[in-house]
Symmetry: C2
Subunit: 214 residues, 2 copies
């Protein structure tokens, strides 16, 4: 099975699982970019199996629950189970790689609290986190805030100098609450370098925004 054929099969399964459940921030473009990030990190880090990375990246959000869904912490485990079921039934996919795919997917999400124990799991976690950073991360941050009814920022105290951070009310707070800490917790050297560059750009964005809004 070529990498391209494996990717096409996984994308077809994702389309089936996502019928009517895709959203703007989690779509085919997102999972393809995560695969692209994962391969870029793997090329620097070494030790990762592309036949594991492809299904892990494409199917990592197979069960896609909204950010405010009570079962969201379980989404990555449910996605891992869906991927394992699919791969076990996929003609030509090596059965001995399924557990590695499932572990990478189950461990990719911060909220699942599962430590990544393989190269592919560390790489997938970093690859997905890169999507939350930089220009793409910024676009997704404000998009999700719009979906969930949060505001852009607190007009009276946008940098939260004199109030608790609250990213459920103010999208901009998400930088300090989640994204800057995420960048500091990358698993691979390549991921850390890419994250640092994207974070620096986000800081420049925030500085510019503060100048514009006075």
């Amino acid at each position: 099975m070529t990498p391209a054929a494996l990717q096409a099969a996984c994308e077809a399964e994702l389309a089936r699982l996502w019928q009517g459940h895709a959203d703007g921030a989690h779509d085919l473009g997102h999972v393809r970019r995560v695969l692209c990030n994962a391969r870029a990190i793997a090329a620097e880090e070494g030790g990762a199996d592309d036949a594991v990375l492809v299904p892990a990246a494409i199917l990592h959000d197979a069960v896609n629950l909204p950010k405010n869904h009570p079962g969201r912490r379980r989404a990555s485990t449910l996605s891992a189970e869906a991927a394992a079921r699919f791969l076990a039934a996929l003609p030509g996919y090596p059965a001995d790689k399924i557990a590695a795919v499932a572990h990478a997917i189950a461990a990719h999400s911060f909220s699942a609290g599962i430590a990544p124990e393989t190269a592919e799991a560390r790489i997938l976690q970093d690859a997905d986190r890169l999507e939350a950073l930089g220009a793409i991360g910024l676009a997704r941050m404000f998009h999700v805030a719009g979906q969930m009814g949060a505001g852009l920022f607190d007009p009276d105290d946008p940098l939260a100098t004199a109030r608790p951070l609250d990213d459920r009310r103010h999208a901009l707070d998400h930088l300090e609450v989640k994204l800057f800490p995420v960048a500091a917790a990358m698993q691979t050297a390549a991921g850390r370098r890419m994250a640092a560059e994207r974070i620096e750009w986000m800081r420049q964005f925030r500085h510019r925004l503060m100048t514009e809004i006075g």
Copy 2:
């Protein structure tokens, strides 16, 4: 009536009119920034009356209909009427300035199709359009897309090189559909200069986004 007292009275009226109808992209921060922009433009252009600018800026979105509301084209006219009613009943506000406030509000919106005929109307239009540009404009663009269920961009053709532009489906298309043309249609020299600088930054953002998503 001092400018600060006039602004406070208008903000109190806005809070009353907006009860339960504010959204993240149209809030008190937005109308205050529009006033700030308007004063910056007025300082360069001259010929504008601050006692007209203050209520026009604070109350320009008094009737705030969603972007997909069928009556949205009428929102600026309804806002103008609401502002006129309020000012007519406001002790100490000069009756002979009410028509200028109402005209500036009615003409501020592109979709209303009313040509701005006074310095205050031209300045308010430019001041409001600046909010759609630069870092704040970008944040609002993706936030509105999230609210309305649009995606971030077309993953297969993000720059629409081989498809029609469609900013109801793809937030990024909004740059070409609406924001770049808006910047080219500014009414004042100061507004044009500020818009050009913000548009240049948005082009740099788009270039970076394209690099990140490959």
